[in-house]
Amino acid sequence: MSGDPYVWIAAMLTIGVFSFLVEDNPVFCAIEHLLVGLSTGYMFCVYWYRVFVPELVRPLWESGAGAEAHLWVVVAICVLWTCKYIERVKDLAKIALAFWLAVDLGLAIPTEMDAGVIAQVLGTIDVSFDGAIVNVVGEMVLLVGTVAALTYFVFSKPHRGVVGATAKLGTWVLMIGFGASFGYTILSRIYLLIGRVLFLLRDWLGVVG
């Protein structure tokens, strides 16, 4: 049995969260609101000490007006974004939002094409029918399955006739894939529970070696 008060508190909180499985209750509601509050404080301090001060406040403070010009752009964007909360100048915030959108959406175009389309298509055509029968069948399933599943995502043709049949096959491939990864995921979820059980049995109660 652990003597450390922090371990006892953590154990009580753990049991409190598990109680949500039985039904929603005031203890869980309290723990949830406590968690939101603590996370708010945690996030503020971590981003303040680890990002905001070292990356912006200190360089600006030390070099004053002579700071690298780009830091003033950061300040400008932050000011523009603050306008969202001031009714009269609300629209100015859209400039900061547009900057943010441009950076992410602009960069998404080539990177999505690389990792999402080209890599997957090159992977699909890289069929190799040498080796064991199960690999040959597998490569066939992979090739046909990918094409069929992609046909399910055709929008401008009604799913009838050949397109319909291929899309149907595609749905089945999707279902096999989802079933397989669902089954496989159960493993890691159980490990999470094992982690908490080990905490309660080993660190708190000391029942397990």
């Binding site: 949830e32 055709v154 009604p158």
Partner: protein, 314 residues
């Protein structure tokens, strides 16, 4: 604006394809010191070509979309179910929950989710139903609030919009899961929407929603969570269907028309896959070497080696 758009599209297509054509010259210059320093990274020529082709198709269908020709698009399950789900919540006099996912509003899937949110909020406003939007991302939070406010105003019920319904909770995934699970159970939301990018915490939200007896509509691009969306939602928009739903939801013919660009590009992918796989089989089976020798092409092995390296280098 329309003319400048078309001109810009052309300029983009021309300049990038010109750059692609000039690739060998520029990249040769860059190659000398090993690292591509020149004006074009030839390793990314294929990517550039693909983007230019997609952008070309996209701009072409923007043009045809402007002509307003009706285009067939197959129904998307999640989309048609929105009205029933909102109606159900209105009948029961209980609020709707819309979780826009954990990614920032600058991620494409969250941009799509904002489009769907606009449609849901509009329908809810028309039926005097509250829409609770718990946010994970600090940037998505004010944008979502703006969209829901605009939906209520558009239906002439700006006064019924409660700003606190669209709230920022936290940027920690399991704190968010706990808070939203609590919200669903206590506010007894009648219909839940999960549209956007989710991580492992998704199943906590969805299973809690199922336990409250809510109707659930899900749509996500996160491949890892789709198996859980399928098993917890009455209607699911799988991957690209979320983007298609966002294009359909605005009833804007141009947006609708851009989905044709996706399908035409898929056609190119089908052709490339069939040719590519066929060619690989021919190479493996030695058929290609045999035919090249037959045609008297000398150095067939060098040609095949280069094809293999380029296409199947992997």
């Amino acid at each position: 604006m329309r003319a400048s758009l078309a001109v810009l599209g052309l300029v983009l297509a021309l300049s990038t394809s010109a750059a692609a054509a000039a690739a060998p010259v520029a990249s040769a210059a860059g190659k000398r010191d090993g690292e591509a320093r020149g004006w074009f990274d030839s390793k990314r020529a294929v990517n550039l070509g693909a983007v230019v082709v997609f952008a070309g198709l996209f701009l072409w269908f923007v043009r045809t979309g402007r002509k307003g020709r009706p285009l067939y698009l197959r129904p998307i399950a999640g989309l048609s179910a929105i009205d029933d789900a909102v109606g159900r919540a209105a009948e029961m006099g209980r609020p709707i929950l819309y979780a826009p996912g954990l990614s920032s509003v600058t991620e494409p899937v969250t941009v799509a989710s904002m489009g769907v949110l606009g449609r849901v909020a509009e329908r809810a406003a028309r039926l005097h139903t509250r829409v609770k939007v718990p946010n994970y991302d600090p940037l998505t939070y004010p944008v979502a609030q703006e969209i829901v406010r605009r939906a209520f105003a558009k239906v002439g019920r700006a006064d019924e919009f409660q700003p606190d319904d669209v709230s920022y909770l936290t940027s920690r995934s399991f704190t968010y899961a706990a808070a939203v699970a609590g919200m669903m159970t206590r506010e007894r939301t009648a219909s839940n929407f999960f549209v956007g990018h989710f991580f492992s915490e998704y199943l906590i939200l969805a299973e809690t929603g199922v336990a409250t007896g809510a109707v659930q509509i899900g749509g996500t691009d996160s491949v890892a969570q789709l198996p859980f969306v399928i098993t917890t939602c009455d209607h699911t928009m799988i991957g690209e269907e979320v983007f298609a739903a966002a294009a359909l939801v605005g009833d804007d013919p141009v947006s609708r028309s851009t989905i044709r660009a996706h399908d035409w590009f898929k056609l190119l992918i089908f052709a490339f896959v069939i040719l590519g796989a066929g060619l690989k089989l021919a190479i493996d089976a030695g058929a290609l070497a045999w035919t090249l020798d037959g045609l008297g092409v000398d150095g067939a092995q060098r040609v095949i080696a280069r094809i293999t390296a380029a296409l199947y280098g992997g």
